[in-house]
């Protein structure tokens, strides 16, 4: 470079600026970046707060349903009431209804009160008998009918306390509210206090909530999730068994074998659309096809499972195709290059590599199906079911409930005790979802390989 060129360059060059001084443009850019980061943090904070509030409210409302108030009574099974004939013939004893047993249980409670020296002024017989759940008589009756030799003996039983009494122990019912409540009197609450002191009234873990069937409007204390859990489990089984093979086979065919033409394009678009169809539409479809046309029973897990399968299929197909697409083509080339057939290439190499994605998609689909309510309402899963469905496969055709529908059902009921039950059911549902997600993560880890 000549001397003149050098001076010319020096004249046209901008003045040198220090690196330690920020110019206006850089400051604006930095400010914009800081604002963007703040928005991001706020968005995350809102999300976490929403999740936290949701979980906290569900836990606060529902935790109580896992503990229940029980009465410990020594019930004398009077032969004169329960088996007048003295034959111990279950056929004959069957004629004694829960009213008869109710009297025996009431007598046992009165006995216990007297024995423990509890005296409450103005306490009526009705007050005493209302301390116990209506379920108690049925419980004792079932036990006696199962073993008629018990008649004439005195047995120790653990019976549910009335829902209001349970509410009093959980703080839902107070003396003030009892004054205004026709279902519970302050005298009963005083009696409850005295019984707690004597150890007759105890709160303990409520297995009945997890294993028991639903109960009627009048006995929230006895309502359980057993049938709903079974129903949901049966449906998930049906969904898994049907949607995984069908979905994976469809995806493999579409992704690896199908010719690319208008027809397959149309199928692809429709699968994507199907994933966006409102779930209640699937319910109507299920009602029309599976129940009205095919004649499958209402309220049955098989129908629920079929409807949810239809709903889950698009999710699984989309996830599986994405997983198959993500497998590097070099693996297919490698397999074909050593003379594997297309199917061998897919089954031996592509599918194992796509497995983590397929399983994740499947479990996301199953989790969606587990929480789905609307289509189940239309196919009769909303019915009040007291009998446990049989073991599979017959059980698939027996009436059953489903977890989300049970939640919906309980929120419809008047007794405030059902609010606690509904929240408890949501906790059970969330635990199911978390277990499924944990399984998804475990399977992912197990199958994940690098290439």
């Amino acid at each position: 470079m000549t001397a003149t060129a050098q001076t010319a360059a020096a004249q046209t060059a901008p003045p040198r600026r220090s690196l330690t001084v920020l110019d206006a443009r850089t400051r604006r850019r930095n400010a914009a970046e800081a604002r963007f980061r703040l928005f991001g943090l706020m968005a995350i904070a809102v999300g976490i707060a929403a999740l936290f509030i949701l979980l906290a409210s569900v836990l606060a409302n529902g935790a109580g349903s896992f503990r229940q108030t029980f009465l410990f009574l020594d019930v004398h099974l009077d032969e004169k009431v329960l088996d007048k004939s003295g034959t111990r013939d279950p056929e004959v004893m069957n004629k004694v209804t829960t009213i008869g047993y109710g009297k025996i249980v009431d007598a046992a409670l009165k006995d216990a009160i007297a024995k423990n020296g509890i005296a409450i002024e103005g306490l009526t017989d009705k007050d005493v008998s209302d301390m116990i759940s209506k379920e108690a008589a049925a419980l004792v009756r079932d036990r006696v009918l199962a073993d008629p030799t018990l008649v004439g003996q005195t047995i120790a039983v653990k019976v549910l306390a009335n829902g209001r009494i349970d509410g009093y122990l959980k703080g839902r019912v107070t003396m003030d509210s009892a004054e205004r409540d026709s279902n519970v009197s302050p005298n009963q609450l005083r009696l409850a206090d005295a019984m707690i002191e004597k150890g007759l009234l105890v709160k303990s873990f409520n297995w009945g909530f997890i294993t028991g069937p639903d109960a009627s409007e009048l006995r929230p204390e006895a309502a359980g999730l057993g049938i709903a859990i079974l129903g949901s489990a049966y449906m998930m089984l049906v969904v898994l068994v049907l949607s995984l093979p069908i979905g994976v086979a469809a995806s493999i065919y579409l992704e690896e074998f199908a010719p690319k033409n208008r027809f397959t394009d149309l199928i692809e678009v429709n699968i994507a659309n199907l994933a966006a169809v409102p779930s209640i539409v699937f319910g109507i479809l299920g009602l029309a096809i599976f129940i009205n046309f095919a004649g499958l029973p209402q309220s049955a897990p098989i129908v629920g499972g079929l409807v949810l399968t239809l709903m889950t299929l698009p999710t699984i197909i989309i996830a599986t195709r994405a997983a198959l697409k993500a497998v590097p083509p070099s693996i297919r080339d490698a397999a074909l290059g050593v003379g594997a057939s297309k199917m061998q290439a897919v089954l031996h190499h592509v599918l194992p590599l796509a497995m983590p994605g397929i399983l994740t998609g499947t479990i996301i689909g199953l989790a969606q199906a587990l929480g789905e309510t609307a289509p189940l309402l239309l196919i009769g899963m909303v019915a009040f079911v007291r009998d446990y469905p049989a073991a599979p496969p017959e059980g698939f055709f027996d009436p059953a409930a489903a977890l989300p529908v049970q939640v919906y059902n309980w929120t419809q009921r008047a007794d405030p005790a059902f609010v606690e039950r509904a929240s408890g059911a949501i906790i059970v549902l969330l635990v199911f979802l978390m277990v499924m997600n944990a399984v998804a993560i475990l399977l992912r880890r197990r199958f994940e390989r690098r290439w």
């Binding site: 010719p259 070099s330 490698a334 594997a340």
Partner: protein
């Protein structure tokens, strides 16, 4: 068949090659990708037990042509192949030919090492297994060991055959892929830029290996490196814009190219 000026010249030099026994003969091969005419009227005779190199600038169709030789282009929907390619006189595009059987005879090694995400042993054993080449475990062990030995990898991996093939270094992976390709005892080995992802040392190892493989196989190698073509091959074909410009003995192509385009390419003026 169309006769072009360049073709006549090409065919004369090809006559020398044809004197040796011809393994693969291609006549009037055209390849279309949708509307793109990727390979235009290519005639080639590939001799048995020699190394044939395909050179040419990027996008000239040499890899496409290579993939025609074991019908790997079948997997691309929009790809259409015309013309006649014979292996030992049999048309490989005959309706009765199953590409699976063809690929067992015409093995392939790819540009990027692509071992299966399985153990080293399973990588090599895969081909013999699916083709039922061995009757028992001992025979399979034997085939795996031989293949790895011939791919000059045995000494490095013999103690960790159950380790994943993807855990090897790039050069080792490529040699593993070569071992996998020769485990099915193919008659022809196609190599699509096998050294492009390798460092000079690994490249030298693979080149040495190619030279040894010549004793048993007919090797066709696509390469971007003219030095590599000069080092490993006996015959060289120069592709340009989908045409086979010149084909002859490597020494002749690199010292006295007949076509001006070949000369421009090997002297670095085009490409």
């Amino acid at each position: 068949m169309k006769e072009k000026d360049g073709m006549n010249v090409m065919r004369e030099s090809a006559a020398d090659i044809a004197a040796a026994s011809v393994k693969i003969a291609a006549r009037g091969v055209q390849v279309f990708y949708g509307d793109t005419h990727a390979i235009k009227d290519v005639d080639v005779d590939i001799a048995d037990r020699t190394v044939t190199a395909f050179i040419g600038p990027s996008g000239c169709g040499k890899s496409t042509f290579l993939r025609c030789l074991n019908r790997m282009n079948d997997t691309i929907d929009i790809c259409r192949v015309e013309g006649r390619i014979t292996l030992d006189g049999e048309d490989i595009y005959d309706r009765r030919v199953d590409p699976v059987q063809l690929r067992a005879k015409v093995g392939m090694v790819f540009q990027k090492p692509n071992p299966f995400p399985k153990s080293i042993y399973d990588n090599v054993a895969y081909g013999p297994r699916i083709h039922g080449l061995t009757r028992n475990r001992a025979e399979l062990d034997e085939v795996v060991e031989q293949s790895l030995r011939r791919a000059a990898l045995w000494n490095e991996v013999k103690d960790r055959l159950q380790a994943p093939g993807t855990g090897l270094s790039g050069g080792q992976q490529q040699r593993l892929c070569i071992a996998r390709a020769i485990a099915t005892s193919p008659e022809v080995l196609l190599m699509d830029e096998p050294c492009s992802a390798l460092d000079p040392i690994a490249t030298a190892q693979v080149e040495e290996l190619i030279d040894e493989l010549r004793a048993n196989f007919s090797v066709v190698i696509v390469t971007h490196s003219m030095q590599q073509a000069a080092r490993v091959s006996q015959n060289t074909a120069f592709f340009h814009l989908g045409n086979l410009v010149e084909y002859g003995q490597t020494a002749q192509i690199f010292t006295t190219p007949r076509d001006p385009r070949t000369e421009s390419y090997i002297s670095g003026r085009i490409g």
